[in-house]
Structures are given as structure tokens and as C-alpha cells.
């Protein structure tokens, strides 16, 4: 379909489901609870209503997502978002890449890193710390993963300790999961 966005962009697209989202008025208590955890303010969108077809998994994903991306201390939030961007690019999820680019930009108050990685991908011109984080995220996202000792040494070289690296592993791995259902179940399209 011609309105599907295929290039990485900072503008957060709309998301169009490929399957019929569940009817929120006809949900089981387990589904309703999963949605109330994922969207506590009742703002369930099409993707959430689709994921409610598998409510036990949705109920497990939500607190894990929060714990990994917003957990206190450890790796700074911007680096976690950069890992999410690297994973989303590797996995081809334009929607997730845009969403987390937006968050990264807000956290660092600068579009330069996002502009570089969207334009040049693996060849982006980045500072040493962003370079090490972005490369690790891309390499761990590959299937099979190809992150290695050298990637870890590069992270240590720019000052990351074990806890920071574990946070980077977690945020990258989280998007192996999140990217796949987002990219598989729908398309990014121009926002109306």
C-alpha cells in the first residue's frame, strides 16, 4: 500500500493494524485487566487492543517494559533510547524507531544523533560513547546475535560498568520483542 512509510523518520507515524483489533466492550476480565495495566488512563489504541488477544503476554510485557526503560539508576535514559533506536533500525520497525527517536531527542535536547543514524545507519558519525552503545545494540539485535567481547570492551572503554552494560542488554533485547509485534501486526502510515 502506497501510504506505508518505509524510511526512518523523526515524525511519529500513525499505526494501521493488519488484523481486526478486539472489541473492548466484549473483552474477558483477563483481557480487560491486561489493558488496564498497559493503558491505565484508558487510552487503549489499535495495537494494544490487538495485543489483548493474548492478554497474559501483554500483562507480562508492560511491567517489564517499564522496569527496563524507566528503571532508576544505571545506564542513562538517553542511552537506553539509543539502544531502542539501534534495535528498531536493525529489525526494520519504522514506527518504534520514530517513537524512540522522539524520546531520545527530548532527553538530550538535540537532533544530531538521530539525524546521523537515520541518514547514515552503521556509518553514522557519532561520539565514542554513542558509537559504542549504538554498535552494541545493532550487533546484539542481529539474528543470530553477533555482539562479542570487543563490543563489550568498547563499552567499558567509554566508561560503562557491568550494571550499565546489563541495562543496555536489557533495553536492546526488549526491542527484539517489541519491534517484532509492532512491525508484524501493522504498518506505519502518515498521521491523518
Amino acid at each position: 500500500m502506497s501510504d506505508v512509510i518505509r524510511k526512518f523518520t523523526k515524525v511519529i507515524p500513525a499505526w494501521r493494524a493488519r488484523l481486526a483489533p478486539g472489541d473492548t466492550s466484549a473483552m474477558t476480565p483477563v483481557q480487560a485487566r491486561a489493558l488496564s495495566i498497559a493503558a491505565p488512563l484508558g487510552q487503549a489504541d489499535d495495537l494494544l487492543r490487538l495485543l489483548a488477544h493474548d492478554p497474559e503476554t501483554l500483562s507480562a510485557h508492560t511491567p517489564l517494559f517499564h522496569g527496563i526503560m524507566y528503571g532508576a539508576a544505571g545506564l542513562d535514559r538517553a542511552a537506553r533510547e539509543l539502544a531502542a533506536i539501534g534495535a528498531s533500525m536493525e529489525n526494520g520497525c519504522v514506527f518504534c524507531a520514530a517513537t524512540h527517536a522522539d524520546r531520545h531527542i527530548r532527553l538530550v535536547n538535540d537532533t544530531r544523533v538521530v539525524d546521523e543514524v537515520f541518514r547514515f545507519g552503521a556509518d553514522a558519525d557519532l561520539g565514542p560513547r554513542d558509537r559504542a552503545v549504538f554498535d552494541f545494540a545493532r550487533h546484539l539485535s542481529d539474528a543470530p546475535p553477533r555482539a562479542d567481547r570487543e563490543d563489550v570492551e568498547n563499552l567499558r572503554g567509554v566508561g560503562l560498568n557491568d550494571t550499565d552494560i546489563l541495562d543496555l542488554v536489557l533495553s536492546t533485547a526488549l526491542f527484539a520483542w517489541t519491534n517484532r509485534f509492532t512491525h508484524m501486526l501493522g504498518d506505519p502510515v502518515r498521521a491523518p
Binding site: 493488519r18 495495566i37 503476554t57 507480562a60 522496569g67 526494520g92 543470530p144 562479542d148 546489563l166 527484539a176
Partner: protein, 176 residues
């Protein structure tokens, strides 16, 4: 919009989290790596949540069209495709009569399982190449919307677990 919890979201209510144990620590060797214990302790909650996720994805109370043994076999298949043999063996131990599906060389018997295996293989290995046709092929063999979501969730979760194990192993091996 898609499913991305908002900035500064509150952590929602969760089921009781078990003690800081998770299968990935065992399978990766990180659980016994000297020097790594303090780091793992600081992330005990998310590691426990990752184990709860495995329980929810592989052994849900309502398994729909994919029984627990089939799920275990499919999990082993994704782990094997990613060369994570210890993780694959962990899942395969619960696959019972469906163990053959855990072998990536096995293409399955019958249109439904053949389509499911083909879908899972692409989702695991080449997610960026997927498009609406991958979903259509599952519809075509009569797989319901709910079972498509369940299957996608299974492949997506395993892709997470594989990388968690790989990353933990790298950390364990990098201990001085």
C-alpha cells in the same frame, strides 16, 4: 498510535514476583559468574519479570490454538535458529510429542503447522522483510487473529530471551 508506554509512566500492578531467580541466569552461566552477583542483584526485579514473561508466553492459562507442548517446541526452534543450544534444550525438555518442531530443519506436516513454522522462522531471523503477506498466509490456512497474535508474541518473546541470554553470557565471560 502503537503500543509504547508513555514517558514517566507509573509501573502498573503486577503479579507477585518470585525470588531473584530466572532461567536465563542459569542458561547463560551469569548466575554463577564470580563478580557479577552484585550487578544481578540490582536488576533482580526485571530479571524476575523476564521469568514471569516466559511463564506467561509458554505456559498461559488460556493457550488458545497453541498448546503448551507446541509452544515449548516452537521456543526451542527459535533458540536453535539463534544458536542458543542450552536455551533450546531447556525449552525442548517440555515439548513432549511435539519435539520435532524444535528442529529448524523440520518443515512440519499439515498446512497449519507448516505455515506457522515458516512464519516463525522469518519473524525470528528476518523481521524487517515481513509485510502484510506474512499475515495473509496464516489467515489463508485458517489460523485465527487471536492465534496469529499468540504466535507473533511467542516468536517475539523468544527473540528477547535469546538476546538476554547472549548478553548475560558476554557479561559473565568479561568478568576479570
Amino acid at each position: 498510535m502503537g503500543y509504547c508506554p508513555p514517558l514517566h509512566a507509573e509501573v502498573g500492578p503486577v503479579r507477585a514476583v518470585p525470588p531473584g531467580w530466572s532461567r536465563v541466569l542459569e542458561v547463560s552461566g551469569a548466575g554463577t559468574a564470580p563478580g557479577l552477583a552484585p550487578t544481578l542483584a540490582t536488576r533482580a526485579r526485571v530479571l524476575a519479570l523476564s521469568q514471569l514473561a516466559e511463564d506467561a508466553v509458554l505456559r498461559p492459562a488460556d493457550p488458545g490454538g497453541w498448546c503448551h507442548e507446541t509452544r515449548a517446541a516452537l521456543a526451542a526452534r527459535v533458540a536453535r535458529l539463534n544458536h542458543e543450544d542450552a536455551l533450546a534444550n531447556h525449552h525442548l525438555a517440555r515439548a513432549g510429542a511435539y519435539s520435532a518442531l524444535g528442529n529448524p530443519a523440520h518443515v512440519g506436516q499439515g498446512a497449519r503447522i507448516r505455515a506457522a513454522l515458516a512464519f516463525l522462522d522469518v519473524l525470528s531471523q528476518d523481521p524487517r522483510d515481513m509485510d502484510g503477506n506474512d499475515v495473509s498466509r496464516l489467515h489463508h490456512v485458517g489460523i485465527s487473529d487471536a492465534d496469529i497474535v499468540r504466535l507473533a508474541d511467542l516468536g517475539a518473546f523468544l527473540s528477547f530471551q535469546v538476546r538476554l541470554v547472549a548478553g548475560l553470557r558476554l557479561l559473565a565471560e568479561a568478568q576479570p
